[in-house]
Amino acid sequence: MHLLEGEQVTKHFGGLAAVADVDFYVDEGEILGLIGPNGAGKTTLFNLISAALSPTHGKISYKGREITGLAPHQICRLGIARTFQTVKIFPHVPVVRNVMVGSLFGTGRRTSEGEALKKAEAALDFVDLTPLRDVPAGDLTLANQKRLEVARALATDPHLLLLDELMAGLTHTEITEAMGDIGQIRGRGITVIMIEHVMHAIMGTCDRIIVLDHGRKIAEGTPAEIAVNQQVIECYLGQDTSGDEEDAGS
């Protein structure tokens, strides 16, 4: 049984199929990459998994149980946490309280405030934000706000973490750090699905990659297979094989 599995997942916006008949799965302990040109449906797929949107048809199962139709908070409490392409933090709330939202409400268990605080502190420590714990989150740099989102997601004790363009807008050094972080997250037994445009990061981190284009899955395989896939090169990689920060923007 796969940890997460989608069957013929489809989402129409009016006449446009943002995601069309996509079958996908991720196994426990895997790091799955999701790539494709802008507008390929990657973030829409994340929104469908995390229940920000509900699919037009198709079904998504998690640990063998169908999760389509649940509310976002239920998905989170089941163990699927996410970050956002454009950061969504609580700007006037201190950093540590931002993370506490996750540990207090997102674990699926009744958590005391003391326990939630400890968990939040541990998550902050993991992303190296401890020195900034009392600063309002809106005052952080973009890189730190992204780290904060990761900490908030980790504080919910996820089994599966969805990272939406974690590295977009980061410097080279920060990208290297973020790659290390993802490795460590897997080391904690958390399965990861990541959307990314920074090609060397995705090639270096993922076990398997799914390529979307115009809402359809056009390829799937190991990084080595994807790198030489003719269709992928034509529609995506061909633009710029080095894939540096220029196409790392949203």
Binding site: P72, V93, L104, G108
Partner: protein, 330 residues
């Protein structure tokens, strides 16, 4: 070190609060005059404003439904006061306002921003017409007589309801609901994806705030001999708490109380002394307040205090939650 000064300020403010409450509670035993009525009126608006701030403060959902819940209290008092003891009437009013708010909230709290404000505004008109029609069809009358309570009884009842409202408001702020409401106000989507049941939280706290409004309505109704839907569901009851909260500042709970007190007194004073210019002066004061005191009277006082103390490092308790928020939603 920081914690000790913190607890000391807290103890001092608790003692001051308790002292004020005791003085207010004993006031009618040695004083019988205009101020009993005036303070009842101030407490009424303090209950409505604090009640409004409990939900609308942190979430940024601007509710204009206050008059609906307050007016329901009026009608419940008109029907039940006399046959049932006053205390029970107050509690029933709160409970019915709570239930109506739950139903309304479940329908409307999916709406955001201005749509929510407009719907709650329409709710007052809707309840108003429903009551008007029901009265016309069932009793064939327009208004009702209310079994009156004495000035002092109404005063004490309002004082107790006010204390209760304030304690609940503080408890909600300190509890996990406080953080949940604030994160909903700052970024609802992120709150939902971090595990907060946003619909349930909003509906529950919206209904809780209506509970206090309903109780205040039941008490004020007993100070009038006659009510009709126009009196009970007066739109001013919806707008004034919003203005009072802005005027006082929503960063902490002292702001709404001070805002309600100053505004109520100013309103009554102007109305009785210069009725012709009442609205004009009132309007000017409000515009100035919004322009120059974005964090309300309390924000202004804190700024002054910080200056006096030479900017001593400690932040005042209310600051982190104060003032403006980022727009919710995308």
């Amino acid at each position: 070190m920081r914690t000790t000064t913190f607890t000391r300020t807290r103890i001092v403010s608790l003692v001051v609060l308790a002292a004020i409450f005791v003085v207010l509670a004993l006031l009618p035993t040695f004083y019988h005059g205009y101020w009993i009525t005036e303070i009842t009126d101030i407490l009424r608006y303090a209950v409505l404003t604090v009640g409004w701030v409990i939900f609308s403060g942190p979430t940024g959902y601007m509710s204009l439904a206050t008059a609906a819940f307050f007016g329901l209290g009026f009608y419940i008092a008109a029907v039940f006061n006399g046959p049932l003891p006053f205390v029970l009437v107050i509690i029933i009013s709160g409970a019915i306002a709570f239930i109506v708010a739950m139903l309304v909230g479940a329908l409307t709290l999916r709406l955001r921003g201005v749509y929510f404000a407009i719907f709650t505004f329409a709710l007052v008109l809707l309840v108003n017409s429903v009551v008007l029609e029901v009265e016309r069809l069932v009793t064939g009358t327009r208004g009702r007589f209310v079994e009156q309570e004495s000035t002092n009884v109404a005063y004490w009842a309002m004082l107790i309801v006010f204390a209760f409202t304030l304690v609940c408001a503080v408890a909600i702020r300190r509890s996990r609901y406080g953080l949940a409401l604030q994160s909903i106000g700052e970024y609802e989507e992120a709150a939902a994806h971090s595990g907060i049941n946003v619909v349930r939280t909003k509906v529950l706290i919206f209904a809780t705030s209506a509970f206090f409004m309903g109780m205040a309505g039941a008490i004020i109704a007993t100070r009038r001999s006659y009510i009709d839907p126009g009196i009970a569901f007066n739109m001013n009851t919806s707008f004034l708490p919003v203005l009072m909260a802005m005027f006082g500042g929503m960063g902490n709970l002292v702001g709404p109380v001070v805002g309600a007190a100053v505004f109520t007194y100013l309103g009554d004073y102007l109305l009785s002394h210069i009725p012709d210019l009442f609205m004009l002066i009132f309007g000017v004061v409000l515009i100035l307040a919004i322009l120059f005191m974005p964090n309300g009277i309390i924000g202004l006082a804190q700024q002054a205090w910080r200056k006096i103390r030479g900017g001593g490092g400690k932040q005042l308790e209310s600051e982190p939650e104060g003032g403006r928020r980022a727009p919710a939603g995308r």
